[in-house]
């Protein structure tokens, strides 16, 4: 167990990180992600109103759908990244635990009255067998497309808010459940033959293989979504209107390119390049920094993400990593490292 943002979280279960990782890739793994804060914004104007704080298309987000976006500051930096789900009469936001207090303050400052669902837990069931398990516990949920959301009972437990989403690159479901019923629901899911529990360490190796950003490491207040390769979250309508915080910076990044870009790296050999590792360019000058690095259980090799000068961010440009005084060659690769296998849209 480890302390994180006021929560006590399981790093791993007795099976160990590698086994838990493979469980999510081959069958189904259950994660307790209740530390993520769940916030409701009530009222029918919430979707249009939220666009004042984020650059995504929320106004046209249909009921029953969810979307990834980010709160931006006036410099175009990311205050937090979040999922926004459109339920009847309200939006449900899922934000990072370590950012929750700041997010709530930010929303209030901007005239919102977020309802913080401290009385709800959040479980993530991830993997190719997740749909088969949900087919037995909540058949309605298996009809959800990728990023679809609904409210229904799961294993007889009423009022579960379900989304077909996750943080592993696999098909899966995130289930918001009244906290009082969370242990019972986890037990019922884990009683299914394909399911096993997984901890934070496996969640990290899975999301990194999937090329997904971790707030505080890969993105932060000083990172713009364009630098982070998240420009796809900003639709044309918003790019033209430029009606969100930091729009001038984002416009500049979209038009002229940012000074640095997020890339994927495969170090040669087995040495791991952790966050903070310096990246050197072909001329041996400092080119950037690793922001996440781990061992990829699926590839059996180290993988990393980081930022480099834009002129060096191209597949084939040779880069090297400086680890414990040694220079390691590294190849730039497309993200994700392991192909996504989401449900159909």
């Amino acid at each position: 167990m480890v302390a994180f943002a006021g929560w006590s979280l399981p790093v791993q279960f007795p099976a160990g990180t590698l086994a838990e990782h493979r469980q999510a890739r081959k069958a189904a793994a259950l994660f307790d992600v209740s530390h993520m804060a769940q916030l409701s914004l009530h009222g029918h104007t919430a979707p249009a109103d939220l666009e004042r704080l984020v650059p995504g298309d929320i106004k046209n987000l249909p009921q029953g759908r969810q979307r990834y976006t980010a709160f931006l500051n006036e410099a175009g930096g990311i205050i937090d990244d979040l999922m926004v789900a459109h339920h009847p009469g309200r939006l449900v936001l899922v934000v990072n635990a370590a950012r929750a207090a700041d997010d709530i303050a930010h929303l209030r400052t901007n005239g919102f009255a977020p309802e913080y669902h401290e009385d709800r837990a959040l479980l993530a069931l991830q993997g190719p067998a997740a749909a088969a398990i949900m087919g037995r516990l909540a058949p309605e949920a298996t009809r959800l497309p990728f990023l679809g959301v609904t409210i229904c009972a799961v294993a007889g437990i009423a009022d579960c808010w379900i989304s077909r989403s996750g943080y592993t690159g696999e098909d899966g479901f995130e289930i918001s459940v009244p906290a009082a019923d969370a242990e019972s629901l986890a037990g019922k899911i884990l009683a299914e033959p394909e399911a096993a529990p997984a901890g934070l360490a496996a969640r990290d190796t899975l999301r990194l293989e999937a090329g997904l950003c971790l707030y505080g490491q890969d993105i932060d207040m000083l990172t713009s979504p364009v630098e982070a390769g998240l420009g796809w979250t900003i639709p044309l309508r918003r790019r033209e209107a430029l009606d969100f915080p930091g729009a001038a910076v984002i416009h500049d990044h979209l038009t002229h390119g940012p000074t640095r870009l997020r890339i994927g790296l495969r170090p040669e050999g087995r040495t791991l390049a952790r966050a903070g590792t310096d990246i050197a360019g072909p001329d041996d000058t400092l080119a950037g920094t690793i922001t996440s690095g781990t061992f990829s259980p699926s590839l059996g090799a180290p993988i990393a993400m980081g930022y480099v000068r834009r002129d060096l961010a191209a597949e084939g440009t040779p880069l090297s990593l400086l680890v414990r005084g040694q220079r390691l060659a590294a190849h730039q690769t497309k993200l994700p490292f392991v192909p996504h296998r989401f449900a159909a849209k």
């Binding site: 990180t17 590698l18 791991l272 061992f295």
Partner: protein, 125 residues
């Protein structure tokens, strides 16, 4: 039966018949580290001083240094754990050994923790 001693850094040190010492990490250490995915070992013939970092272990959780429990010369390294770091998790005190060394001073071994003292130390953690 060869005698084994321990350090507070969770290393075991086994005195072999020829006077060399075999060194690895304890079961407690491998369990605390979690799945080990990378190991960097010292060069053979390297002279090391007590407390010097001579190996690096990376698990899915973090990187950790492994120290020389005493001064001496690295006589042999276990290449098998480089190819298969999981050996350290599966058999930390057997096939998962790290390196063998010739101590500078034969008497230092006796000053390391015996099994009872190491077990008592673990109780305090």
């Amino acid at each position: 039966m060869a005698e084994t001693r321990y350090t507070k850094d969770h290393e075991w040190v086994r005195l072999e018949d020829d006077g060399t010492l075999t060194i690895g990490i304890t079961d407690h250490a491998q369990e605390a580290l979690g799945d080990i995915v990378f190991i960097e070992l010292p060069a053979v013939d390297r002279d090391v001083v007590e407390g010097e970092t001579v190996a690096t272990v990376e698990s899915t959780k973090a990187a950790s240094d492994v120290f020389a429990p005493l001064g001496g010369r690295i006589a042999e390294i276990n290449e098998n754990i480089v190819d298969d770091p999981g050996l350290i998790n599966r058999d930390p005190t057997g096939e998962g050994w790290f390196w063998r060394m010739e101590p500078n001073d034969d008497d230092i071994f006796e000053t390391l923790l015996d099994e009872e003292a190491y077990e008592a130390f673990l109780e305090t953690l």
